[in-house]
Amino acid sequence: MSTESTTEQTTRQGRRQSGIGLLAYLLLGIGFGIVLTKSEVVSWFRIQEMFRFQSPRMYEIIASAVAVAAASVAVIKKLGLKALSGEPITIPPKTLGNGVRYALGGTIFGLGWALTGACPGPLFALVGSGVTVMIVSMISALAGTWLYGFLRPKLPH
């Protein structure tokens, strides 16, 4: 039940994609890495400023990002657009359940976000930008993900 839905969320690109298609994701990733760095959302200082409510900057960035994404998703759904690969664009709803995994998992991630000053995307961008010690953070994040997988059957979801 919940296992299937999570696997669905993460690996819905069931068929493997070919070379040219995959190159697009590399290029989009490069663009996203540049955007994350130039917008300074990868900065521990900015994350501290956000969690101390001492500047509207991060909130303005998140809000305008959500607004643009939401408007685009609405247009895509309304027009029933297809992906360049030809398949229809679908966004599967997340399984809500009793919501515990989102509240508890979200809070645990939030603790880590404030401690490292980085969420997963920025971790990769920071290593690229020369804060090489964040490789250790990435390995530690992999260990955390692995432990979750190990404990998953025992955790409330």
Partner: protein, 187 residues
């Protein structure tokens, strides 16, 4: 052009940065029906390298190859942005600067304070908690919540999903607790 110069020198104003981030949601959907989110890459790496007998990691991780290429791109983008465009100190508010100085931060150059985020600080209490414990919680929490800032706060909220709203409230609850109660204990 002055506007082009700003994009190269940076930092970008919020009204450029935010919409630019939001753009990746439709871009990935149109590229191949891919759902914008970064933390699943951590799961794919675990599944590829150390799946063990764990059900959570027993799936065809190669179907997530697009996601692994996307995060490889993020790494390269971070490199390009910091090496080929002008960087300066992050201009945080004076209040934040003073609050952080009280916690013992004095080096405000770069994207993260070197006193905490450097190889020489790694074996110290503040370095270990920030880098290792923090990273671990990021990995565990995003896996448990099924998404991070990109998957829940941007993609999920944009699709008006209640699950994502709950997760984002959690992100901030955790972040506020860590910032105001834990950081003063070890920085």
């Amino acid at each position: 052009m002055a506007s082009t110069a700003i994009l190269v020198s940076g930092p970008w104003p919020w009204y450029v940065a935010g919409p630019a981030i939001g753009f990746f949601v439709p871009a990935l959907l149109i590229a191949g029906n891919a759902l914008f989110g970064v933390s699943s890459s951590l799961r794919h790496v675990c599944a590829a390298v150390v799946p063990g007998k764990i059900e959570y990691f027993r799936y065809d991780w190669k179907a997530g190859a697009w996601n692994l290429l996307f995060v490889l791109g993020i790494f390269l983008g971070g490199f390009l942005a910091s090496h080929y465009t002008q960087a300066q100190n992050v201009a945080i508010s004076e209040q934040t600067r003073l609050a952080l100085m009280k916690l013992g931060i004095h080096d405000f150059s770069g994207l993260a304070p070197r006193e905490v985020f450097s190889w020489s600080a790694l074996p110290t209490l503040k370095g270990f908690v920030s880098i290792v414990v923090g990273g671990f919680l990021v990995g565990f929490g995003t896996a448990y919540a099924g998404g991070c800032t990109s998957g829940h706060a941007i993609s999920g909220l944009a699709d008006l999903q209640l699950s994502s709203l709950i997760a984002v409230v959690g992100f901030f609850a955790g972040g506020l607790v860590a910032t105001h109660f834990f950081l003063p204990l070890f920085l």
